[in-house]
């Protein structure tokens, strides 16, 4: 009887020919994936492109960008002050990050996005027989969490890859600085070196050997905030934060 390789699952991109390297290795899950029929209805479901108008993408297809934007919508849910991912042109920014990667890395990333979106993958991995982009927000969160907490290391790796791509692209956007209370760089790009260079103290007479941290502690620093020579502080300090717990006991309590 014809027997496929049980350890591998192919996620082929349009126009891509199957080959030894054209597989994303999925370990044990590969077998389960194939057991439900790699070419069945669920595997053929197509992503409906929903992208805001933007420039052409150089790495991701419109479908792949749609998936990543759907992921971003959940990783950065609606909250006052936080711009929506589309408002910072996140698809283009993620594409630009990916464009810098090695072409082989780009291919891996695109396969990952396809696998994450796949309805069949959703069924096998998370009992959600639907495309990620077609799932409800609650189900989308479940799928993201299932990947993040999977026993399969490769899925956790995949989750991390998408998470870092989204968060690096989103929080690297100056439009998000206000939301996180970040005043931005303290110098304007044209700023010159401070006119009066402070004279650093003479090098400390550190004996060779154990390094500074192992030596007796220096004098107690005063509690005053650090001084920024020649640099105007662009924003006033944030109001005092009462710091209620971020994590409710029900989430983080190990009892």
């Amino acid at each position: 009887m014809y027997r496929r390789r049980p350890q591998r699952v192919s996620i082929l991109l349009p126009g891509e020919r199957p080959g030894r390297r054209g597989f994303l290795k999925l370990g044990l899950f590969g077998a389960a994936f194939l057991a439900v029929g790699g070419s069945g209805y669920l595997a053929t479901r197509r992503t409906r492109v929903r992208l805001p108008a933007g420039g052409p993408l150089s790495v991701f297809s419109p479908e792949e960008a749609t998936v990543l934007m759907a992921v971003a919508e959940r990783l950065v849910p609606e909250r006052a002050g936080f711009p929506r991912p589309a408002a910072v042109k996140l698809a283009e920014k993620m594409d630009r990050v990916a464009a810098m990667a090695d072409p082989a890395t780009q291919l891996e990333l695109r396969r990952l996005v396809r696998l994450f979106e796949s309805a069949l993958g959703g069924l096998v991995f998370d009992r959600q027989p639907q495309l990620f982009t077609e799932a409800s927000p609650a189900h989308q969160d479940l799928r993201l969490r299932a990947w993040a907490e999977s026993r399969i290391a490769l899925r956790r790796t995949g989750h991390l890859a998408m998470k870092r791509l989204v968060y690096a692209s989103y929080y690297g956007s100056p439009e998000t600085y206000a939301a996180v209370g970040y005043p931005g760089p303290p110098l304007r790009p044209s700023a010159e070196r401070p006119a009066s260079r402070p004279t650093p103290p003479a090098p400390s007479p550190s004996p060779p050997g154990e390094g500074a941290a192992a030596r007796p502690a220096g004098p107690e620093p005063s509690p005053r905030p650090p001084r920024r020579r020649g640099v105007a502080k662009p924003f006033e300090a944030q109001p005092v934060d009462q710091s209620p717990p971020l994590i409710s006991p029900s989430v983080n309590d190990d009892g």
């Binding site: 290391a153 970040y182 030596r215």
Partner: protein, 519 residues
Amino acid sequence: MAERRSEGRIVTGREIAQDLEERPDVCVVGSGAGGAVVAARLAERGLKVVVLEEGGYYRPSDADMQEATAYPRLYQDHGQRATADLAITILQGRTVGGSTAVNWTTSFRTPERVFAHWRAVYGLDAFTSEALAPHFAAVEARLNIHEQPDEGVNANNRALWDGAGKLGWARARTRRNVDGCANLGYCGMGCPIGARTSMDISYLPDAVEHGARLYANTRAVSLERAGRRVTAVHAEVLDPVTDRRTGRRVVVRPRVVVLSGGAINTPALLLRSDIRLAGKVGARTFLHPVAGVMGLYPHPIEGYYGAPQSVASHEFVERGPGKIGFFLEAAPVHPVLAATALGGSGALHQAFMARLSHASALIALTVDGFLPEEEGGTVSLRSDGRVRIDYPLRAELWEALREGSKALARVHLAAGASAAYTLHEDPVEVRAESDVAKLDRAPWEACRVQLFTAHQMGGCAMGRDPERSCTSPEFRLHAHENVFVVDGSVLPTSLGVNPQLTIFGLAHLAAEHVAAGVR
């Protein structure tokens, strides 16, 4: 071919319009902590030096202090370097000056106990604090390395100072290689005022002044060999804007080659050149794997401003037999760095980001490579030629990362934090000492908790015994007559301190061996 230039200068990929061939005395591959110091010292002796650097050349005025610009521009793999499983994010510079152009300036001499270990285990008898002292002193003078003044300790580092102090732990202000520092806090994005005395504004200009030629955007691809000698270094030129190959090539035919690409790229270049030394090249890579704990404070911390590192605690660097030690430092809290480090996602992640200005990031750096059974990680090549880094995390290392995280949580609480959070995908919240035990039950497993490294060491280890090492104590690559390795890859273990000053000092020493090797 064969365009020849005589004056010392820095040439970028944009200027290389045709294939070039150089025939210097010495070709230095890599312009970071090792390569720059060697290049300068050799050029000062009148030797003709060519330096090849894969990264681009940027001046202080090019630094816009935006993470979205800086990480792709100045870091390996455009800021995306990591172990193959993404478990450990690897921060490593890729620019003229290497990691010294993006690091947080912390400068420790090599601890004597590390030298003692190297002497006992690897036969590096000449490596003592006394023997290296003049080399360290020379570098410290050139780079203006001095202790950070008290008023230059930002609130993020002060959390570590205060917390460690209240707990009765060792603590000290660190020494930094800066001159005219304004404590802006953007060291990791390229100093915008040129105050960090990184290689691009210190030893490399020294080298150029003495006639060295530095090719930026020029990536060494392979070494050509004839018998026991390397006869040529083949390099490809990259476009400074796109970082893609331009098609131009640079061939350097030197008398002596110095490999200074760092602990990942030097082994990779050797492997691409089919120099494996019986599997020892790329083996025993050490990373000081780092766990972080974020503290949220009632008062603003603004961890994105101020010198990124100015305090360290080495209280737990030696934890007894069978245990891996760790040391504590701070990390800057810029939005991208924080957002990609934080655990959790969605509303929880966002809630933390909303309080970024009140967050302090402290890190525990584990001191790997000292247990007899520790082999560290490996650098290898994928079938398509990409570099692959693997680092299996041993149980002893997880224990150290866990205990280090507990120590950090205690520091935060002692320093007045309302709560401390691990970087687990399901973050552990510590609001009181009674919560610290939660960390024992957290999942310490790859890709369930974020780990980092900014210190890459080993992969081309130095040792007396050629059966157990890649380079001799004189920095010469075994089985080769005219190849030296001068960078973090020669370190046979990690250091337990930030490595740049160790590499500077070793490079200062190595220049004497290299000069003697130019015959």
